[in-house]
Amino acid sequence: MNRFAIFLLALPLLAGETTVIRNATVLTVTKGTFQGSILIRDGKIVEAGEKVLVPDGARVVDAGGQFVMPGIIDCHSHIAADSINEGAVAVSAMVGIEDVINPDDPDIYRALAGGVTTANILHGSANPIGGKCQVMKMRWGKDAEGLKFEGAMPGIKFALGENVKRSGSPGNGFGASPGLRYPATRMGVEDVIREAFTEARAYQKEWRDYQAKLDRHEQAIPPRRDLKLEPLVEVLEGKRYVHAHCYRADEILMLLRVADDFGFKIRTLQHVLEGYKVAQEIAVHGAGASTFSDWWAYKAEAFDAIPYNAALMTRKGIVVSVNSDSAELMRHLNTEAAKAMKYGGLNETEALALVTINPAKQLGIENRVGSIEPGKDADLTIYDKHPLSNYAKVTKVFIDGQLYFDREKDLEERPGREARKKALIDKFKAQEKKERKKPEPTEDKKSEEPGGEQ
């Protein structure tokens, strides 16, 4: 394609745009599957159906019979984060991923090329109460602020079990903690969470008392802000979601009871590999579950993990998603979802929901993304084959109606990229050679040089 043609293609993207994706197999996830078209205007889906009128001036993308599904949503990722774990303290609620986003991380583009449009970027699992999370769209090319999913509910990471217990030991890679850091048992993990929320309640009361005094027009001194407790008060007030890393059934139940006691909800249980053992209790509490499709046995607490977890929890009435926790696995969440058909017999729509509408619900963004419905963001992934097939590959990805990944374009640009890379390497090599040829500027040599440098 020549430069002019690329310019023409880019033109409608710059104006207030209308795009029609036609001749597609549309997997809406929530409204069935049909052969038809999707009308996009100003980044939103306006219409999706078998017959859609193409407005004048609309850009038409012929999908050639390929499969369009909602962009994949990964409820657990660590890409584009310059740091993950603040492990020196057991409660690190004062730190947040929002401050360490690296928009140049190539994993963003790789995820995009794997059909992912939105991801929940979490703090690590070194502490019972970890740092704040950031929901992000894969708007490759935008700056850190531009990646953030505007208006998404804020979140915070909790973690239970082995990673937390281990984090006190030296040389664990989770930050500078020279000695053992409390807690070192699952009992201690419960205690740390209860202590923190007891403090948070007292802190909340200080502010309420202060506000009450102001309301009564009394003189009052504002309490000192506590950046660690503030996010926990938000949790108590339902303004911040808890995403809790957990494995074993006992610790899952423990956390649900702690939350019940303090009157807040666990929004999602992350990994939740033994969730299938306490599915009833999870359903009653109302927590979502975001799990691996089939990882198991890599550590002791993962030894009872089963690939039927997602399907079983779905059958017990839990909103379930399948996540990656890995920049690699993130690239094929579509086939990870297919595993819930093999193991536990979910149907195609239920399987696709695990990586689209369900994680959207878990992140509280289901009015924006997760299915192909009028009014939602035009975050769409096109596959050349059915996305639940291992032979399918992503051909195009739209976010907010903009084309962010196009396989053809990627292929076209490769020779140019290679040439640029080679030119840079050659330049560096030439430079190096020149420097090597230069004689060592020793005192002796200098004096030998006739005439010197005058």
Binding site: R110, Y276, A279, D294, A300, L329, N390
Partner: protein
């Protein structure tokens, strides 16, 4: 499932009565080595495939299993695992992969494989009938075993023990941010590199010296001199020097692969390249030397930051075009490396240039050929072990279910820990 179990128990009891003759009938047979047979049959006798074809007369006393609408494929082979040597990766007490020392050719994976490992039934439930299990660590890591995923003891299971001598080819290893256990921790990048390079050069010398010692040992043994003393390490190298036992050489980067090829040439050992991530850069050389490759996982991130996003997916297709023989492997069990997912490592390359038939061959026939058992395993052909899977579709697709399995002609229980827990808690 209950009916399945009942059938299995019935089959198991029949089997106990003696080697059974079984005729599988009415399925689409995919021999892999030849054209598919619609409405085909496979006759299994004494553990071997006795006949394959469209019509086979029912021999006297044979049990007939009707498989209308289903498919028969050869069982799949994972060419790189640690199955049986590790149960839970993170628990030191449950791992027997890597022993102390640099040169340990006398160590046999077969001596430490746990036939009761939970990984065995979990893995075979997805159609994997044989695996290579290898020791690791040091330079000469020890002897790999090729084994069936069924049997009471390793002696029942082993197809070839040893199947290969595993060598982790020396390379320059600078400490990474997680602290590479093998590399010396020296502050300052330049000095760390110098140290690492020195270490690598020394290891190369040691490796060549070790090969030389083995050669002299063999000479002394042949000469049967009076003062000859047995040395188990050097003794273990004799089949390698004789060209009877291949050397499975782990080398990832172009430089290391090239050095390994030169080494194998000079030492006249039969080389199989393991995890040749950059094998595509050396394809012509590999082809010229007839060196097969055990591929690293297809489902991995690009090796270099500026590689095309799909580089790992397109490498198998590139190697196939270049005429290099290869087999897929998972190198599991680990978190992301699940041996049961072997077929998906193959499938992931199909959208990116590898023909589907080649992908299937690279988890069946090609590994059999690479491991020197091309006339025993890997396809549905008369005279081979009857390692078969019965499926409701293409085994490289996740949605396909494995319905039945036969290893050495005997029905294999597909029940496993995961399914048991599922049934138990579904009923809660």
């Amino acid at each position: 499932m209950k009916t399945c179990l009942t059938i299995f128990l019935a089959l198991a009891s029949l089997r106990a009565a003696g080697p059974e003759t079984i005729l599988l009938r009415g399925a689409t047979v995919h021999p892999v080595s030849g054209a598919d047979i619609a409405d085909g049959s496979v006759l299994m006798r004494d553990g071997k495939i006795a006949e394959v074809g469209a019509r086979i007369a029912v021999p006297k006393g044979a049990r007939v299993i009707e498989l209308k609408g289903l498919h028969i494929y050869p069982g799949m082979i994972d060419s790189g695992t640690e199955i049986g040597l590790t149960e839970i990766e993170a628990v030191r007490e449950m791992s027997d992969i890597s022993d102390i020392g640099l040169f340990k050719p006398q160590l046999r994976a077969a001596a430490a494989v746990n036939p009761a490992s939970e990984h065995i039934p979990v893995t075979r439930a997805n159609g994997i009938t044989s695996v290579i299990t290898s020791p690791g660590g040091g330079i000469v890591a020890g002897q790999s075993v090729l084994m069936h995923l069924s049997g009471w003891t390793i002696e029942d299971m082993a197809v070839r023990s040893p199947a290969a001598m595993r060598l982790e080819f020396p390379r320059i290893r600078t400490p990474n941010r997680f602290g590479d256990s093998d590399a010396p921790q020296t502050p300052g990048r330049a000095s760390a590199y110098t140290e690492a390079k020195k270490r690598y050069e020394q290891q190369l010398r040691e490796l060549n010296d070790f090969m030389e010692s083995a050669r002299r040992y063999r000479q002394a043994k042949t000469a049967a001199s009076a003062d000859f003393e047995t040395d188990l390490k050097l003794e273990a190298m004799i089949p390698v020097l004789d060209g009877k036992l291949p050397m499975l050489i782990r080398a990832e980067k172009e430089k290391t692969i090239k050095e390994a090829i030169v080494f194998a040439d000079k030492q006249k050992v039969h080389m199989i390249l393991e995890r040749g991530a950059e094998a595509w850069k050396v394809a012509a050389d590999l082809k010229a030397h007839n060196i097969p490759v055990i591929l690293p996982p297809t489902l991995r991130l690009p090796d270099e930051e500026d590689d095309p996003y799909d580089k790992p997916f397109s490498i198998p297709g590139e190697l196939s075009k270049a005429g290099v023989k290869f087999a897929f492997a998972t190198f599991g069990p680990g978190a992301e490396d699940n041996p049961r997912n072997l077929p998906y490592e193959a499938a992931a390359a199909v959208g990116f240039g590898l023909p589907q038939e080649e992908a299937l061959k690279a988890v069946t026939l090609y590994p059999a050929q690479v491991w020197g058992v091309g006339d025993e395993l890997g396809s549905i052909e008369k005279g081979k072990w009857a390692d078969l899977i019965v499926t409701d579709g293409d085994p490289l697709e996740t949605r396909t279910q494995i319905k039945q399995m036969f290893i050495k002609g005997a029905p294999v229980d597909l029940e496993n820990k995961h399914h048991r827990l599922y049934e138990k808690y579904l009923a809660r």
